[in-house]
Subunit: 206 residues, 2 copies
DNA sequence: GCCTGATGCCATCAACCGATGACATCGGCC
DNA sequence: GGCCGATGTCATCGGTTGATGGCATCAGGC
């Protein structure tokens, strides 16, 4: 460009007075990514939308995260850290309550569930999501079950219970059926415990 | 183009000897759409891939179906008709067996489940899929339950049971956990009946 | 035998997308 | 005060996608 350019408001580069804080920009992108990926999924979320929501240019995504895929993985990690989901539980009831409470508090299934329910998720995203899911749900439930009951096929039982719980959570988030969507959470949790407790060995005390 | 073009094998239009059967072309597109949408979902399946798999040009999709979205809806209807899923069952066990058998026989979740698990599915696709799902699973299970037990909140129980069943089916199709993926179907069905029977009133006779 | 609608293919369009590199400005360091 | 790396924005690229319209060929009807 010619060197006659003057410092007008529309000149390139950071605008006068604009915040220059890479940690804040990065965090804004990450939180926007969590929200939008969690609501819409990977393909339906563009990096331009994420930048807009974060209030910065989308080109910073490549600078700070490397790629859209890497941003998604970072969003999964941030979600995992941000949700403060326990790694051990009093029991199935508490786990169901935690999962549904988190689900009810979000707009959409969240980036972790979005990643695992889609057959076209890239392997590295899927592995990151499944790893956290197992750590937060499967492993603790298996540990709990090993401590309380001696059932055959404990690992299968736990995996079936977690898959069922995720199906219920997803169905509720996406509003598959009227009652499932609108039922009070405590009533839903009670039904979940009745059902899944029958195979994990935690029958309700009533 | 110049009028000097000769009828060579690479000239435009239907090639010499090429089948001219719109019903066959349409059906080929539809079955290809079922398979690819069922395996990869809406966004990750292009109309060019569908045409290739069907052995015809993708432009015929617009001619015969109107749009990619309308093709998806036609695929959902075809899947529903093709799977011959009953609209009434002996009980939960038979329903679980049918759902898992169909799931195990496919490559991927299938177009109906793909449509309902994604938050970004268009409303008309979602409605078409949910309508069939309710007709094949929720309504029959509700009818069965009404005939056998007098529980509180029967509709909620049935909806929870179906959501759980779909979660298990999806988890198995996508290979979320090792045991869930590899367990023999009859063993998995037995666990599902133990769990979901506890809330639909069909306890196993053992 | 001719005509015409059906059938299928091809090229193209407009829009979008993830990624990249250039550039201006800022602020800390020397 | 000057320098230079950090920071942010902008324009652009190459590729992809769903949809469209033109064209050639075929086959049935008259």
């Amino acid at each position: 460009m010619s060197d006659g350019d003057s410092a007008t408001p529309s000149t390139k580069g950071a605008r006068a007075g604009r915040s220059r804080d890479s940690a804040a920009s990065k965090e804004a992108l990450l939180q926007s990514a969590r929200i939008l990926f969690g609501r819409q999924g990977f393909e339906s979320t563009t990096i331009r939308e994420i930048g807009e929501q974060a209030g910065v240019d989308a080109s910073l995504i490549a600078r700070y995260f490397g790629s859209k895929t890497d941003l998604y993985i970072a969003a999964v990690i941030a979600e995992d850290a941000g949700e403060a989901i326990p790694t051990e539980y009093e029991g199935l009831e508490q786990m169901a309550e935690v999962v549904l409470a988190r689900a009810d508090g979000r707009d959409g299934p969240g980036p972790v569930l979005q990643a695992i329910i889609r057959s076209d998720t890239s392997p590295e995203i899927r592995d990151a999501a499944l790893d956290r899911l197992s750590r937060r749900l499967v492993t603790p439930l298996a540990a709990k079950m090993a401590a309380t009951r001696d059932e055959d096929r404990p690992e299968l039982r736990v995996q079936v219970a977690v898959a069922a719980l995720l199906g219920i959570s997803l169905g509720r988030s996406l509003g598959w059926f009227d009652e499932l969507r609108s039922a009070p959470r405590d009533e839903l949790v009670a039904l979940i415990v009745d059902a899944l407790g029958a195979i994990t060995g935690e029958t309700p005390e009533r």
